[in-house]
C-alpha cells in the first residue's frame, strides 16, 4: 500500500485503535448485509445498509490520509449509490465485486494495523487498482450491459503475523492501568445490576420486612450499602472522557478546511465530560457527519462572509456538558443557518412531504433527518449525498438520545445532542395507574401533590388544569396518554406530579405513589425502541417489569393528542 501518510495514525495510537476497530465493525456489517442483498437485490433498506458503512469508511479514511482506502471505498459507494436510486441493478457480478472490496479493505486495514505495530507491510496497490477498474467499468456499464468484469485477483497475500499486534500501540507510558476486554467489563456491570435487583428483592421480601431483628436489619443495610457502592464503581469503570473523540474532530475540521478551501476555526470545550464508553464510541460517527455538514452547508465562502460582516474564518464549536441527568453535546457554526424555504422545496421535490400541508419551522428543520434527503445541489467530496443526517439521527436514537436543531438564518445553526446516562441506575418514583405500575425518574419531578377540588378546573374545549401555587398547569392523565383502563378519574382522588422540564411544566395525573426506588434501566430490547414517553424498563422487587417514563416524551404525546374531555 502506497499511503505515504501513516504518520497521522502513528502519532496517535488511541485514534488508530478506534479507527481500525470501527472499520472492522463496519466491514463485517457489510458482509452480513450483502448476503441479504443477494437474496433481495432491490430492497432499498438493505441497499442503504450496505451503502452506509462504505460512506463512513471513505470519510474516516479520507480524514486520516489513507488515500487508497478512501479511493476504493469511494468506488463501491458510487456503485451502490446508483443502485439506491434505481439506476443500476445489483446482480451477481456486483455482489462479487462488493465482497471482493470488503475482503481487500479488510486486508488493507489489517495491514495498517500490523504496520503500526512495526511489521513490514504488504503491497496492495495492484489488487486495489484492478478492483477499482472493475468497479468503474461496472458502474458505467449500467443495467443493460451485463458483461462479467475481470475477476478480481485471487492470489491472496497471507495476512501478516497476528501475534502480539498490540505491542506497538502501547507506547512507553507507564500509567497504572490495566487493559480489560470490554466484554468482560460489560458482563461484570450486568451481573452487578442483577445483584442490585436481587438485593432489593430480599430487602422488600415480606418475610424479611416482618422480622424486627436488629442484627438482620444491620446486615441488610450493610448489604445495601455495599451493593450500591459496587454498582457505582462498576458504572464508573465504563465512563471515559470524551477528549479523544473531540481530538479526532479537531483533525477532521483541519482537513475539511483544506479540502473545502474555507478558513475554519474549531473551539472545543468540556473535553473532560465523562460518558459511557459505548456512547463515546458511537457518538463519533454522528459528530463527524455533523461537522462535515456544517462546513459544507453552514459556513459560507469568504466573500459571502465578508459581505455579511462576519469574520473571514468560519467558527465551529464543539462542547460537552452535563445537564439535568443528561449529557449534552452541542455542535454549532456561525454560518448561514438552515434555509427553511430551500429545505421545504427540496423535500417537496423529493416527495417527502405534501406541498399542501403547512409546516412549522422546526418541522421543516426536522426534514433533514429523513433518509435520502439532501440539499446539496451537487455531490461534493465533503458531505456527499444527504445520507449524513439520517445516520446521525439513527445513531443518536440508538443511544436513546435525541437531537435538536436551533437555527437562526444568517447567524448560524446549533445541533444539540442529548444523551441519557445509559446503564446508570437512577432514583425513581414508583407509581400506579389502574393495575399498572410505572417508574418516573426523580430528576424529572418537581413536586407531587393531592389537589383539592377547588384547585382543579375543567376548561371547556381544553381539558383539565390544576392550580399549583400561582401557576395553572395543564393536567395530563397518564391513563389517557397510554390508554389504560380502570384508572382513577376524579382529579381530587388522584395524585398529581409536576414534571420538571423546560420549556414548561406539566402536571401528570396518576392514581397513587408507591415509593422511591433505586432502579436499573433496562432497554426494552432491540425490538421496542422509540416508544414515545417510555425510556425503558425497570425490574421491580417482585421480578415484574415496570415501564420507566420519559417526561419529555409524555409532553410530546400530550401535544400530539386532541384535548381530552373525559371527566
Amino acid at each position: 500500500m502506497a499511503d505515504p501518510d501513516l504518520a497521522a495514525l502513528q502519532s496517535d495510537p488511541e485514534l488508530a485503535t478506534i479507527f481500525l476497530s470501527e472499520a472492522f465493525d463496519h466491514l463485517s456489517s457489510v458482509e452480513a448485509n450483502v448476503l441479504t442483498l443477494e437474496a433481495a437485490p432491490d430492497d432499498r433498506k438493505t441497499l442503504n445498509d450496505v451503502f452506509r458503512p462504505f460512506h463512513t469508511i471513505k470519510a474516516a479514511a479520507g480524514a486520516l490520509g489513507l488515500a487508497s482506502v478512501e479511493a476504493l471505498a469511494h468506488r463501491v459507494e458510487n456503485l451502490l449509490d446508483r443502485a439506491r436510486f434505481g439506476e443500476h441493478r445489483i446482480g451477481a457480478a456486483e455482489i462479487e465485486l462488493i465482497l471482493a472490496s470488503v475482503d481487500l479493505l479488510t486486508s488493507m486495514m489489517r495491514d495498517v494495523e500490523s504496520r503500526l505495530a512495526g511489521y513490514p507491510g504488504n503491497d496492495f496497490d495492484d489488487r486495489c487498482a484492478i478492483l477499482i477498474v472493475a468497479l468503474d467499468r461496472l458502474t458505467e456499464s449500467g443495467p443493460a450491459d451485463r458483461q462479467v468484469p475481470a475477476a478480481p485477483p485471487q492470489d491472496e497475500i497471507r495476512d501478516p503475523p497476528q501475534g502480539g499486534r498490540k505491542i506497538g500501540l502501547e507506547g512507553g507510558s507507564s500509567q497504572a492501568t490495566v487493559k480489560v476486554d470490554t466484554r468482560k467489563l460489560d458482563s461484570l456491570v450486568d451481573l452487578v445490576g442483577e445483584l442490585a435487583i436481587v438485593q432489593s428483592m430480599i430487602h422488600q421480601d415480606p418475610h424479611v420486612l416482618g422480622k424486627a431483628d436488629e442484627r438482620l436489619n444491620r446486615n441488610l443495610a450493610q448489604l445495601h450499602r455495599i451493593t450500591s457502592e459496587l454498582q457505582r464503581g462498576s458504572i464508573a469503570m465504563r465512563l471515559v472522557p470524551i477528549r479523544q473523540t473531540f481530538q479526532r474532530m479537531s483533525r477532521l475540521v483541519r482537513d475539511l478546511g483544506h479540502k473545502s478551501g474555507k478558513a475554519l476555526d474549531l473551539v472545543v470545550s468540556g473535553e473532560d465530560t465523562e460518558l459511557d464508553r459505548k456512547v463515546v464510541e458511537e457518538i463519533s460517527d454522528p459528530l463527524m457527519h455533523m461537522l462535515r455538514n456544517s462546513v459544507d452547508h453552514g459556513i459560507e465562502d469568504a466573500e459571502t462572509r465578508r459581505r455579511a460582516g462576519k469574520p473571514p474564518q468560519g467558527r465551529l464549536s464543539l462542547s460537552a456538558y452535563h445537564e439535568g441527568g443528561h449529557v449534552v453535546i452541542a455542535v454549532s457554526d456561525d454560518g448561514s443557518g438552515l434555509n427553511a424555504e430551500k429545505i421545504h422545496r427540496k423535500a417537496v421535490a423529493q416527495q417527502l412531504v405534501d406541498p399542501g400541508v403547512p409546516l412549522s419551522e422546526p418541522e421543516i428543520h426536522a426534514l433533514i433527518f429523513r433518509p435520502g434527503f439532501s440539499t446539496a445541489n451537487e455531490l461534493t467530496e465533503i458531505s456527499g449525498r444527504g445520507i449524513g443526517m439520517d445516520v446521525v439521527r439513527r445513531n443518536v436514537e440508538t443511544l436513546r438520545g435525541r437531537i435538536e436543531i436551533q437555527s437562526t438564518s444568517g447567524v448560524g445553526a446549533t445541533f444539540i445532542i442529548k444523551l441519557p446516562l445509559t446503564l446508570a441506575t437512577i432514583e425513581g418514583l414508583l407509581l400506579s395507574v389502574g393495575t399498572q405500575r410505572f417508574v418516573l425518574p426523580t430528576f424529572a419531578v418537581r413536586e407531587s401533590l393531592r389537589p383539592s377540588r377547588d384547585r382543579t378546573h375543567l376548561i371547556p374545549g381544553q381539558g383539565w388544569v390544576v392550580q399549583v401555587r400561582e401557576e395553572l398547569l395543564p393536567l395530563v392523565r397518564l391513563a389517557d396518554l397510554f390508554g389504560i383502563q380502570g384508572a382513577v378519574s376524579n382529579p381530587d382522588e388522584a395524585v398529581v406530579i409536576v414534571l420538571e422540564d423546560h420549556p414548561r411544566h406539566m402536571a401528570l395525573m396518576v392514581d397513587q405513589l408507591l415509593g422511591k426506588q433505586e432502579i436499573v434501566i433496562k432497554s426494552l430490547g432491540e425490538a421496542l425502541v422509540n416508544i414515545t414517553g417510555v425510556a425503558g424498563g425497570a425490574i421491580l422487587a417482585d421480578g415484574r417489569i415496570s415501564l420507566i417514563l420519559d417526561a419529555r416524551g409524555l409532553m410530546r404525546l400530550k401535544q400530539r393528542e386532541a384535548p381530552s374531555y373525559a371527566a
Partner: protein, 167 residues
C-alpha cells in the same frame, strides 16, 4: 443458535425445510416452527403492557433479567382473543431482524404439542392466495397422517413487522 436458519429466503421451494419442528395449537389448527429458532418454552407470566403498540403485542416480560417483547399469535392472526389458562404457553424464539441481528421474542400460543421430525417429502408449498397483508409468514404445509400442520416463518412474520421491530 445457528444463523444459517435465519437467512432462509422467502419460501420458493419446500426442499430446504425438512427437519425438527415444535408443533403447537392455536384455535383448531396445528402450527409448527423450526426447533432451531426455539430457545425455551415457559408458562404464561405477568406481562407488562406497553403503549403505542398494535394489540397483538401484549407487552414485555422479564426473562431472567432480560426484557423481551411478547406477541399473542391469536391476535396477530386475527383470531378471537382467549383467556390465558394453565395450558397457555410462551414460546421464546430467536427472530432475525434487519442487519443480520436476532432478537428474542415471546410468542403466546394456546398449547404446545410436540417436537417432531418433518421430512421434505411431507411438505407442500402453501397455496397461492395472491398478495396478502401478512406477506409470506407461511413457509410450507406439512401433510402428516391425514393432518395438516402449518409451518411458520417467524422471521418474515415478526422480524419484518415494522410496528413491532421499530427502526
Amino acid at each position: 443458535m445457528p444463523r444459517e436458519q435465519s437467512a432462509v429466503p422467502a419460501a420458493s421451494s419446500t426442499q430446504a425445510f425438512g427437519g425438527k419442528y415444535l408443533t403447537f395449537v392455536l384455535d383448531a389448527e396445528e402450527y409448527a416452527v423450526s426447533v432451531l429458532k426455539v430457545r425455551e418454552i415457559i408458562k404464561v407470566m405477568d406481562i407488562t403492557s406497553v403503549p403505542q403498540l398494535p394489540p397483538y403485542v401484549k407487552g414485555v416480560i422479564n426473562l431472567r433479567g432480560k426484557v423481551i417483547p411478547v406477541v399473542d399469535l391469536r391476535l396477530k392472526f386475527g383470531m378471537a382473543a382467549k383467556d390465558y389458562s394453565e395450558r397457555t404457553c410462551i414460546i421464546v424464539v430467536d427472530v432475525a431482524v434487519r442487519n443480520g441481528r436476532t432478537v428474542l421474542m415471546g410468542v403466546v400460543v394456546d398449547s404446545v404439542s410436540d417436537v417432531m421430525n418433518i421430512s421434505a417429502d411431507e411438505l407442500a408449498d402453501p397455496p397461492d392466495f395472491g398478495q396478502t397483508a401478512d406477506g409470506n409468514c407461511v413457509q410450507a404445509l406439512a401433510k402428516i397422517k391425514g393432518t395438516v400442520k402449518i409451518l411458520l416463518n417467524l422471521d418474515s412474520m415478526l422480524g419484518a413487522d415494522e410496528e413491532l421491530v421499530r427502526a
